[in-house]
Symmetry: C2
Subunit: 208 residues, 2 copies
Amino acid sequence: MKAMPKGLLIVLSGPSGAGKGTVCQLLRQRNPRLAYSVSATTRAPRPGEKHGVNYFFLNREEFETWRARGEFLEWAEVYGNLYGTPRSYVEERLASGQDVLLEIDTQGALQVKASFPTGVFIFLLPPSFAELKARITQRGTESENERMRRLAAAQSEIAQLRAYDYLVVNDKVEEAVARVEAILMAEHARVNRFSDEELKAQLEGQLG
Amino acid sequence: MKAMPKGLLIVLSGPSGAGKGTVCQLLRQRNPRLAYSVSATTRAPRPGEKHGVNYFFLNREEFETWRARGEFLEWAEVYGNLYGTPRSYVEERLASGQDVLLEIDTQGALQVKASFPTGVFIFLLPPSFAELKARITQRGTESENERMRRLAAAQSEIAQLRAYDYLVVNDKVEEAVARVEAILMAEHARVNRFSDEELKAQLEGQLG
């Protein structure tokens, strides 16, 4: 009936402590058909994090091997740890028409934008600086140095905001998720997301 | 706290019989803060339509006077009748930060786009040609000639679709309205809707 537009690549980024993980978790719960890319990292697992679920936890040598094979859509060194997004999973899902959600830091987001300019780039902003600081401190898994570096980075990351399509303030998680869902619904309705062929099929389907 | 972005101009257009009126009615019910511009027209009222509510029903001379005064944001002759959108109401509401909804035919929509390139242009598509024909026939207020003209126009109007931002199929009114609401929410989150000054205020508000 209708031409199926290819899947959307949704990149959710923003400063450390903006609540990307929490927003993505609720998004995935509410949208089980949304494909979620598990990243690879060399950083140590935080309590409760599982290999293959939250991240692929690799040592530096393993990470370098993946990278040498061209396995990463983007990779970056952040706070002394390596992070990367496996490429094949993302490309396969998009080609099959599924939407794919990436949760990545701002360095990675800009790399992905170079490869996927038609992706939907969402910048998640923490509700306040005080809140951001509290969230990072509460994690209790980072050294003081690491905390300082994260807070400084958060400020400079925000200056990159203009490269993004959307700005979503994470004041309440449910509201932030509702805004991201609205963005996905809207992006699927964008005329310029349809090729001429898809548009023709759509119109023929509609007009008999 | 946050800089208030100026209101959005939302233009809902599409072929005759696509169900623009029904979609707008439900949108307004569900979003009472959405300003709705009442158009002027020289066509005869349909049963139940009220002056100043559905349209300003003017005779041709009155319409020409308004037009001569520059009172119309757009105007067009459609199926032998004149239609126009009063300019001052729209501009005042937008300046005050309120979103304004225009329900207009495709000729008018393209004129508005020339004046308001940052407007949100939504093309509403009827679910099927059979359905479109049935809707127009059911109105029972038009001559056979008028019906034929409307159906032919509907086909050519659809070719203009590329000038719009969004395509919404009106399969079920509630779903079409939900899609339009998502589009509004998403557009309010677009980074390029914020001026540098507004963005700075937003970030300062967030970062203390």
